[in-house]
Symmetry: C2
Subunit: 419 residues, 2 copies
């Protein structure tokens, strides 16, 4: 159903568009903003005057390069997002550590702060307060006032319930349903949201190449687990309560090998690192501890063995690829994406799995569907998760907080204005 439209909507949408355009392209002259947004010069003047008055945007000098090459006419003055307008924070939770990345409104980040934390055995009600404490301490260390932080985005591997703000299940915790958003909001007084790693990587991809990834794209994350971020109609899709994309726990083979989730035959039990290691050590299938984290050097060793021709190792990667291929085939049959992107540290072994992935796609997917899908492997950067989290958080500010142009939003979230 459509929603009522009025001038309020127009203002919000165009201010949001203005901010998003600046965020995407960096400092731009008013005239360029007009071209990119489709708004008239008059409107750009009007909107920018407001945003400057509110301290969200400010004038920076003419572009050096542009100024160098002599051109006639009035020189352009570029506008930029004001870094001092506000701050945000991305929190990435993984096994035994959390990472904090503070950024200003322009998206410039401070150096990541990595903190050891014994997540696995922490009592569930202590986790939120511990994180809140670390946030306070580290913000102080960096000279960032708490009140200047408008929003905190949190990323976690596993199942995050976006509605309740709890971590339903994650390999980083023994406990379930760990409250995160509520305690942080209560203690810090800052709006928070939570999502899973794969969705954040999808956000990072969209930000990196909007054109390419903004249709329907499935981002498969290979690592300690197997995750999935779905971009549907250009937007990251979360499902009814953020639980979409549990690709790793999509069943592959009824009654197959044990998975970390306690069920049998999940895709992850074949294709995540521990599934591959187990397959390679097939003698000890039964007493294999699925919960033990696979060390990076062990995984690299196995990859090297496979590359050196070790039949058992090769077979383990083949099997992982085959199951992954069938999973992707099922995914494509359901979602019909334009693109499937493989990401995560597990893609290091893509060369070892490639053939079996494609063989499985051939066996498991009608040609009509297969022929339309582009397949891609992206190099994995550790910072993709926090980058994506920041992108998502800042977009929320652009669209839903600062775009409204209501004084309350500015005062409440921005904390200060620039003269």
């Amino acid at each position: 159903m459509l929603k009522k439209a009025n001038s309020d909507l127009v203002r919000r949408q165009n201010r949001g568009l203005f901010l998003e355009t600046l965020r995407q392209h960096g400092p731009l002259a008013r005239i360029t903003l007009g071209h990119k947004t489709g708004l008239s010069p008059a409107s750009i003047t009007s909107i920018s005057a407001q945003l400057i008055d509110e301290g969200l945007v400010y004038s920076v000098g003419e572009d050096e390069a542009a100024a160098a090459q002599l051109r006639r006419g009035r020189p352009l003055t570029r506008l930029a997002l004001n870094p001092r307008a506000t701050n945000v924070l991305a929190v990435s939770i993984s096994v035994d550590s959390i990472e904090l990345v503070f950024a200003d409104f322009s998206g410039a980040t401070h150096a990541p702060v990595k903190l050891r934390m014994d997540t696995y055995d922490i009592p569930k009600e202590e986790f939120g307060p511990r994180v809140a404490h670390e946030i306070k301490a580290n913000a102080r260390k960096l000279g960032i006032e708490l009140i200047s932080i408008s929003r905190i985005g949190i990323a976690v591997q596993g199942v995050a319930d976006t509605i309740t703000g709890e971590i339903s299940w994650s390999p980083a915790f023994r406990a379930r349903d760990i409250p995160v958003v509520k305690p942080l909001e209560r203690i810090l007084g800052i709006p928070c949201s939570i999502g899973n790693n794969a969705n954040m990587i999808a956000e990072a991809l969209i930000a990196a190449d909007r054109k390419k990834y903004s249709g329907n794209t499935a981002v498969v994350f290979l690592g300690h687990g197997v995750g999935l971020g779905l971009i549907l109609n250009g937007v990251v899709y979360g499902g009814a309560n953020g639980r979409a994309g549990e690709f790793g726990h999509m069943n592959h083979l009824p009654d197959g090998p044990l998975c970390r989730c306690g069920r049998h035959g999940c895709l992850e039990a074949f294709s995540a690192d521990y599934g591959i290691v187990r397959m390679a050590n097939s003698g000890q299938t039964h007493d294999f501890d699925v919960h033990a984290a696979v060390r990076d050097e062990d995984m690299r060793g196995l990859e090297q063995a496979a590359e050196a021709g070790d039949a058992i190792a090769i077979n383990a990667f083949n099997r992982a690829g085959e199951v992954l291929g069938f999973g992707i085939a099922r995914l494509i049959a359901l979602i019909n994406p334009q693109q499937v992107v493989l990401a995560g540290p597990g893609t290091r072994a893509y060369g070892l799995m490639k053939d079996s992935i494609w063989e499985a796609l051939r066996r498991g997917l009608v040609h009509d569907l297969r022929k339309y899908v582009e397949f891609e492997v992206v190099p994995y950067g550790k910072d993709m998760i926090t980058t994506g989290t920041l992108v998502e958080t800042l977009r929320h500010l652009d669209r839903d907080v600062f775009a409204t142009g209501q004084k309350s939003a500015i005062v409440e979230f921005a904390g200060r204005k620039i003269a």
Copy 2:
């Protein structure tokens, strides 16, 4: 990325909202329209004056029931969609027949016209012209001028490419990539669109109970094949080119039994009618002709046998349910819908499959995901497909054609105006 907003957008959106509200609730007084849409009485007066002038809406008398119970004050005058504003047509294509349902702008339908047509062996370039011919002939028979038809919606079982407007693959045709939209548009001069049956059923469900189905719902269609309509964020999701929801050809078991699509182990090969029949006649697995249509009476016979305790028949339905259950488990893991709805003639045998469906869900899906999903079986009406097609077609008119309020749209599509 956001899009530019201006008063044009406001007009379109509010006119669309006005029309959709009338379509959903039937004749309404201006004051009620105001409450339902959130628009002010002044705006309602203004918009309705325009729509009346354009012949899209007209005044009907006061509601009898409301008039009967004496009330003070100026009596309300109700507005309704003008049936004579334009006409639309739904075309449903199935094996060996096509069905035409003409409707006016208010959604009132003529009696369905069912036409035998040997679809399976028709040369692919003849199909479009044949359908066009039937449309012309039957419109004339019903006294409907061709020029009064604004839009034609087409539904087909199988894979319809919404971009090219071709039937990529369907059990109703031996050929592939049968052009439909283009020839119809060329011959009739009327805008057309095509989609698959399951999506149309999803549309019909949304129309029947907007509140219930407008979040994230998966509609599984059981019949000669197994289809899927996905409602994501309240909108039917088509995928990159309308091929989403190929649930029936989602692989269940690598190298399993032969499917109509030519691959092995698709879900449909177990759970569609022919899969069940084959399983029951397991002696002749190898020379079973998957392309032969299963007759309704045979299917009913098998159901009765199972209900009477025939072990072989019971086993066939159990197996169908098990595979369906695993498929639904995979679907839920990927999509995280609020609801899963079973529809189609195959649901007659739901009682025979229920236990095995649920057992498979238990085995194939983590509890965290299972516990949030509501499960529902809806009685199947043969008209759901054409109803859904009409709903979709009329909504397109409401939102994208008549909402613009441009004279060209009115003249071009409506054909005539009412005094």
